[in-house]
C-alpha cells in the first residue's frame, strides 16, 4: 500500500508550494478587501508556522519536512523564499523555523477564563510576501518543481513521497502544463508517486467545487485541465477531508475549483497532513 511510510527524521517528506504570482492575483477576492495574492500569502505563512509548530519540541525542531516555495509570474519561475532560504529550493523545516523574513506581532482577543475577554500579543512569522505581476508561466514552474523533486526522490527512496500544492487563478501563458504535470506525478519513492494538488483561487462569488471525482460540473476546459493534472487523493487524505465534513470518495482528486478564503485554508490544511509523524 502506498502513502504509508512513517515520516521520521531519517526519512522526512517534502512539501513544495507552487504559487501563481501573475498580475491577476492582485485582484480582490470575492467579499474581501484583500487581494488573492495577500490572502494566499497569509494562509501560506500561517501554514508554514503550523508545520513548524508540529515539529517543534522542547528539545528543538525535528526535521520531518523539507519545504520549498516556487513563485511564478513576471520574473519567471523562481525560489520565492528569501535570505538564506533562497540558496536552495527545498530547506529542512529547522532552517525554515530559523529564517523568517520578519516576525510580526499581532493582537488577538481570547477568553480570560472568567467570563471576560483579554487582548494578547502573538508572534506571527512571515516568510513569503504577496506579489502580483506579469504573465502566468505555469509550465516553467511545473518543470522547476519536477527537476527539484526528481533529485529529492532519488535521495530519499524510503520517504513518504513529496506533495506539491499548486495555487493558481488563471490560465498558463507558456503552453499547456498537462504533460509536464503528468511527468511530475511519475516521479516516485518506494512509498508512491509524487502527489500534485491544484487549487484554483477565485475572485468570483460562486460556489466552490472541492475534490471532485470527475469532470462533470466543472465549468470550462481550463478547470477540467487542472482536474486532470491533479492526483487521486490517497486514502488517509480522503479521511482528513471527510473529518472536515467534505463529501469525498476514493475517486476524488486533489483539486478545488473557485476556492474562497475558507477553501484555501482547508486546502492547505488537508494537503499538508501526510500520514503520521514518528
Amino acid at each position: 500500500m502506498p502513502y504509508q511510510a512513517p515520516i521520521q527524521r531519517t526519512d522526512p517528506t517534502a512539501l513544495l508550494f507552487v504559487v501563481d504570482q501573475s498580475s491577476s492575483m492582485g485582484d480582490r477576492m470575492a467579499d474581501s478587501e484583500r487581494t488573492k495574492a495577500q490572502i494566499v500569502a497569509d494562509v501560506l505563512n500561517k501554514t508554514l508556522m503550523q508545520m513548524v509548530t508540529r515539529c517543534a519540541k522542547a528539545d528543538g525542531v525535528r526535521d520531518y519536512f523539507d519545504i520549498g516555495v516556487i513563485g511564478y509570474g513576471g520574473s519567471g519561475a523562481r525560489n520565492a523564499l528569501m535570505g538564506s532560504l533562497s540558496q536552495q529550493i527545498l530547506n529542512p523545516i529547522s532552517a525554515i523555523e530559523a529564517n523568517p523574513v520578519r516576525i510580526e506581532e499581532r493582537r488577538r482577543k481570547i477568553d480570560d477564563g472568567a467570563g471576560g475577554i483579554i487582548e494578547q500579543t502573538v508572534k506571527f512569522p512571515v516568510w513569503f510576501e504577496p506579489q502580483a505581476n506579469g504573465g502566468t508561466p505555469m509550465c516553467a514552474a511545473i518543470s522547476k518543481a519536477a527537476e527539484e523533486l526528481a533529485a529529492w526522490c532519488d535521495n530519499h527512496p524510503n520517504s513518504y513521497p513529496p506533495t506539491v500544492l499548486h495555487i493558481t487563478d488563471g490560465e498558463s501563458t507558456d503552453g499547456s502544463p498537462e504533460q509536464l504535470a503528468e511527468g511530475l506525478r511519475q516521479f516516485q519513492t518506494n512509498d508512491g508517486n509524487i502527489l500534485l494538488l491544484n487549487l484554483h483561487v477565485s475572485s468570483l462569488a460562486a460556489t466552490p467545487i472541492s475534490f471532485p471525482a470527475n469532470e462533470t460540473g466543472l465549468p470550462d476546459q481550463y478547470a477540467k485541465l487542472l482536474f486532470r493534472m491533479s492526483s487521486l487523493l490517497p486514502t488517509h487524505l480522503v479521511k482528513v477531508a471527510q473529518e472536515k465534513g467534505r463529501t469525498v470518495s476514493n475517486e476524488s482528486r486533489g483539486y478545488v475549483f473557485n476556492a474562497d478564503a475558507a477553501e484555501i485554508v482547508d486546502f492547505f490544511d488537508i494537503g499538508t497532513r501526510p500520514a503520521q509523524l514518528r
Binding site: Q8, T53, R54, A58, R278
Partner: protein
C-alpha cells in the same frame, strides 16, 4: 495477594536515540503506571512522567487531579523565554495516555484505569482472559482520547460515564500476569497469536529491545516507542514460602 513487577522494559522508536523515548512508567509499592506521550506534542515526555509519577502516589484520577498535574506542567516552563516556535508548540499542548494498575482493597481484584490506547492484558495459564480498553487489534486505528496539558481538552474526565468507560476490574489469582503495554506492543499482542508466548519469556530490557527490533524488521510491529510492564500476582502462600 500482592502485585510484583516482573519486567519493566522500554525501547525508543529511534534505537540510536533512547533519550527521545516519550513513553514513561512508574513503579510504586502497590501501583503501577504507564504512559505514552504523543509524538506531535511539545513535551510529552515530561507530561507522561508527571502523570505516571502522580498515579503511583494517588490513583484517584478526577478533574482536580488532572488540573493539578496541568498546573505542575505549566509551572515548569518559563513561557516568556521561549522562541516563537516553542511558544506556539507549547500552546498547542502535550498529550499522553495513562494506564494504571492497582490491587483493590479486597486484595483479590486488580483495578485498571485506561485513558488512551495503552493496553492492559490479563493473562492466566498462557492465555489472555481479557484485555482493556481494546479486545481487537483494529481498535488501535481509532484516534485515542488523551490527557492534555490544555485544560479544556480534559473535560471528558468530568463526564458521568468516565469511570465506567475508563476502568475495569479483574478478579485475579496467584500466578496470573497482567501486562501493561504501549500501543505498538499492544497492537502486535492482539494481532499475533504467538506474541503472548514470546512476551512471556522476555527477561530483560536487552531481550525486549531485540524482540522489538526484530518485529519492526519483519514489519509486524509498528515503529513507535515501545514499553512493557509485566506484573505477577503473588498469593499469600508464595509470600510465606519466600
Amino acid at each position: 495477594m500482592r502485585l510484583r513487577i516482573d519486567l519493566a522494559a522500554s525501547v525508543a522508536k529511534d534505537l540510536k536515540r533512547p533519550d527521545l523515548n516519550e513513553d514513561a512508567y512508574a513503579l510504586g509499592d502497590a501501583r503501577f503506571a504507564l504512559s505514552d506521550g504523543a509524538s506531535e506534542s511539545y513535551d510529552s515526555r515530561t507530561w507522561a512522567r508527571l502523570l505516571t509519577e502522580a498515579y503511583v502516589l494517588d490513583q484517584g484520577v478526577c478533574v482536580p487531579w488532572v488540573a493539578d498535574r496541568v498546573r505542575t506542567y505549566l509551572d515548569s516552563t518559563d513561557f516568556a523565554s521561549l522562541s516563537w516556535s516553542k511558544q506556539a508548540a507549547f500552546e498547542r499542548g502535550s498529550f499522553a495516555t495513562l494506564l494504571g494498575l492497582e490491587l483493590a482493597p479486597n486484595g483479590t481484584d486488580a483495578e485498571v484505569l485506561a485513558i488512551g490506547d495503552s493496553l492492559a492484558a490479563h493473562v492466566r495459564d498462557g492465555v489472555i482472559l481479557d484485555s482493556f480498553p481494546f479486545q481487537h487489534a483494529e481498535q488501535f486505528d481509532a484516534r485515542p482520547r488523551l490527557l492534555s496539558t490544555l485544560a479544556a481538552a480534559n473535560d471528558f474526565v468530568g463526564e458521568s460515564n468516565f469511570f465506567t468507560n475508563s476502568s475495569i476490574t479483574w478478579p485475579v489469582r496467584p500466578n496470573d500476569q497482567i501486562l501493561l503495554v504501549t500501543d505498538a506492543v499492544g497492537h502486535w499482542l492482539l494481532a499475533h497469536e504467538e506474541a503472548l508466548t514470546t512476551l512471556s519469556v522476555v527477561s530483560s530490557n536487552e531481550e525486549f529491545g531485540q524482540l522489538v527490533a526484530d518485529r519492526r524488521l519483519d514489519k509486524t510491529m509498528r515503529l513507535d516507542d515501545s514499553t512493557i510492564l509485566r506484573i505477577v500476582v503473588e498469593g499469600d502462600e508464595l509470600e510465606q514460602q519466600a
